[in-house]
């Protein structure tokens, strides 16, 4: 072994390179504050590695992206690898901000290190770009709708807003072209830029040496290896243990597959964009551009110009009170906005846990239509509940209308089915693929098919349904059960000018009673 290394050194001189790396001279007093760069380097390496391995299974097409991510989660170590990559992004943002605050507090951006500082800011922008592009890749509801918001924000860009949005989208709508584009940028363009920027950043760091403590101390400089290296690996191991704990404990989120027709979904950004998300709420309408572009732009410009705003070579904290106060106020504002955005959970996000009436109705129809004859645990086709079926709504609707077309020779001739029943079964199939049926009381199971067949076309409950008629989410606050029953039976009996058709001849007594009571109970 030793001989092999001797030979390798004789041919390559690699030990010289290693020595150059390890013997970096550090000013006296360099301590724990200067370990954050190494932590970032370690986290970024983990991110590059896990990302590279994830590409072994990921497929960047709208048809398969979601399925492939689910497949990754089912693989051995799949959740861990995806978890490391998912939570690693958050860790990097935290470490990056900490590193930046350290640099600002120590005045390390002062001459001759202005370009090092600028390359660090470019790295910050790049990291945020990584997280934005990576967010879309799982192609779940969160990914899709967050990207809709991102692209709409990009339209606020002064002058060519539409052009910017078009470049981000790739095609005329968010879809296959957006996904391949963001994927390519996320796995090729950005990593290449990242490596170049890191090499540049480290080169500049070595060229000027690290800034060291604010008040330079006297004494000899010391080598990076092993004492500073020991501090670095201690910090790195603490952070890595935390990251592994996160990845182990919490499976990275994956919601239902992206559904561009689902208007009920309220997108939420990743936590480090929540501040911006919250800021947007304070600037409605035409003022939105202030929150989306001007405030972040000014902040970025301030940071970029910091070495020229904060002149003078003195790095001592008391001499830089004004600048440090501005930075502190900015940081506290971001923290407060992020907390407010965090706490401001939209109400519909909570109600998403329960199944919609349409989904429950779809389950009843699926049983009535004998879907479960084949779609069962031991059946000819995949079971409907708990299976990985992630087909789009059109595919499912087509399959329900004519199963023969999609699965030739596999089943009995199809029964005719009403378009709205098919839509309900499709909604059920998509829901059942990710959540087990929680079970609902008999009255709900009685009215759900009625609702899904007759009411949902015009009325909404909790965000699901049509808009021709009024929203019935809180109908119980307006009418009692008796009035509602008479109304549903024959609206003209209550109001001669009513637009709604009569349902008295289409529903039986039990159904009329149940739906009237249900609506009256909705307060």
């Amino acid at each position: 072994m030793k001989l092999l290394f001797e030979w390798l050194h004789a041919r390559t001189g690699y030990r010289g390179g290693v020595r150059v790396m390890l013997d970096e001279p550090l000013p006296p007093g360099t301590g724990w504050f200067f370990t954050l760069g190494s932590v970032l380097l370690a986290l970024l390496s983990i991110q590059l590695l896990t990302g590279a391995f994830l590409t072994l299974y990921y497929a960047a097409t709208p048809d398969h992206a979601y399925d492939s991510v689910r497949f990754i989660d089912a693989l051995s170590a799949g959740r861990i690898v995806r978890g490391l990559h998912h939570y690693g992004a958050s860790f990097i943002v935290v470490a990056l901000v900490a590193h930046m605050l350290r640099v600002i507090a120590f005045g390390s951006y002062k001459p001759p290190r202005e370009v090092t500082w600028l390359s660090g800011l470019a790295l910050l922008a790049l990291i945020l770009g990584f997280s934005l592009t990576g967010y879309l890749l799982p192609w779940d509801q969160r990914a899709y709708w967050a990207t809709v918001v991102t692209i709409n924000i990009s339209k606020l860009t002064p002058l060519g807003g539409e052009v910017v949005a078009g470049i981000l989208r790739g095609g005329s709508t968010i879809g296959a072209l957006t996904l391949t584009r963001w994927y390519g940028v996320h796995v090729i363009f950005f990593p290449a830029a990242l490596v170049l920027l890191i090499v540049g950043h480290l080169f500049l760091m070595r060229r000027h040496g690290i800034s060291g403590p604010v008040r330079s101390r006297t004494g000899p400089s010391f080598a990076f290896f092993p004492s500073q290296a020991a501090r670095d690996v201690t910090m790195v191991s603490i952070v890595v243990v935390l990251l592994v704990a996160y990845a182990w404990h919490g499976a990275p989120p994956l919601e239902g597959p992206a559904d561009p027709t689902d208007a009920t979904y309220t997108p939420r950004p990743e936590w480090y964009f929540l501040g911006l998300f919250q800021l947007l709420k304070y600037f409605p309408g035409k003022w939105e551009v202030v929150a989306a572009m001007i405030v972040p732009g000014l902040a970025a410009a301030f940071l970029a110009l910091l070495p020229w705003i904060d002149r003078g070579s003195d790095r001592a904290l008391p001499k830089r009170r004004a600048i440090l106060s501005v930075v502190a106020i900015g940081f506290i504002s971001v923290a407060v906005l992020t907390t407010l955005g965090w706490r401001d959970t939209p109400s519909s996000a909570a109600s998403h846990d329960s199944w919609t009436l349409r989904e429950i109705g779809g389950r009843i129809y699926a049983q009535k239509l004998n879907c479960t004859k084949c779609h069962a645990e031991t059946g000819l086709a995949d079971a409907l509940e708990g299976g990985p079926s992630t087909r789009g709504p059109e595919w499912i609707a087509g399959h329900i209308a004519d199963p023969e077309m999609i699965a030739p020779g596999m089943r009995e001739p199809p029964t005719t089915i009403h378009e709205r029943e098919a839509a309900a079964v499709a909604a059920y199939a998509r829901r059942a693929a990710r959540d087990p049926y929680p079970g609902y009381p008999p009255n709900i199971e009685l009215i759900a098919p009625v609702w899904a067949r007759y009411c949902v076309g015009c009325h909404k409950i909790e965000g699901d349904g049509g808009t021709d008629g009024p929203d019935l989410t809180h109908e119980g606050t307006k009418h009692d059960a008796a009035t509602l029953r008479r109304w549903i039976e024959d609206p003209e009996q209550v109001d001669p000018d009513a637009d709604m058709p009569a349902f008295g001849d289409r529903l039986n007594e039990a159904q009329l009673d149940a739906i009237a009571q249900y609506l009256a109970s909705r307060k």
Binding site: R19, V20, L22, D23, E24, P25, A42, I46, L49, T50, F53, L56, Y57, A59, H64, D67, S68, R70, F71, A74, L75, S76, A77, G78, I80, V81, L84, P220, S221, F222, A223, F225, P226, S227, A229, A230, V233, T234, V236, S237, V240, V244, T378, L380, A381, P408, G409, M410
Partner: protein, 161 residues
Amino acid sequence: MSHNAGSPIPTGRRRALVVFVNTIVALIGGALSAVLGAFALGPRGASQTRWSRAGTTADLKPDEPVARVLSVSRVDGWYRARARETVFLVWDGEKTIRAMSATCTHLGCQVRWEAKEKKFRCPCHGGVYAADGSVLEGPPPRPLQTIDARIESDSSVLVRL
């Protein structure tokens, strides 16, 4: 870079630090390699099989292999593909049915049933099998693969592929 590594740290402490740094680096590197290695190996376990309908006994002749082309769903990672597979069904005229794969065990060509000779012949390298799938002549190393099959009460035939 003429900086001297001979630092003011005492040798014993220096050695301890070197061991510490190398251990941590080896631990993190090793753990990461193990996780990523396991991940890269891919899915384990055989692919799932499922009962598929292959017509009814009314389509079959007693004791005569009949070829049936079935469309089976194959799970390939996250991808579901429909593959066409040929199986030979041999019905005894009553309650039992045998199913054999039409794939020659030599190099994977599709064998044909020669009704006059009552033999399966492979067109590629001259493999010959008897009606029960056993090898009669030629290079095939094993008999034709048998496949689970059963007859339902409504006389439909199911095979597991």
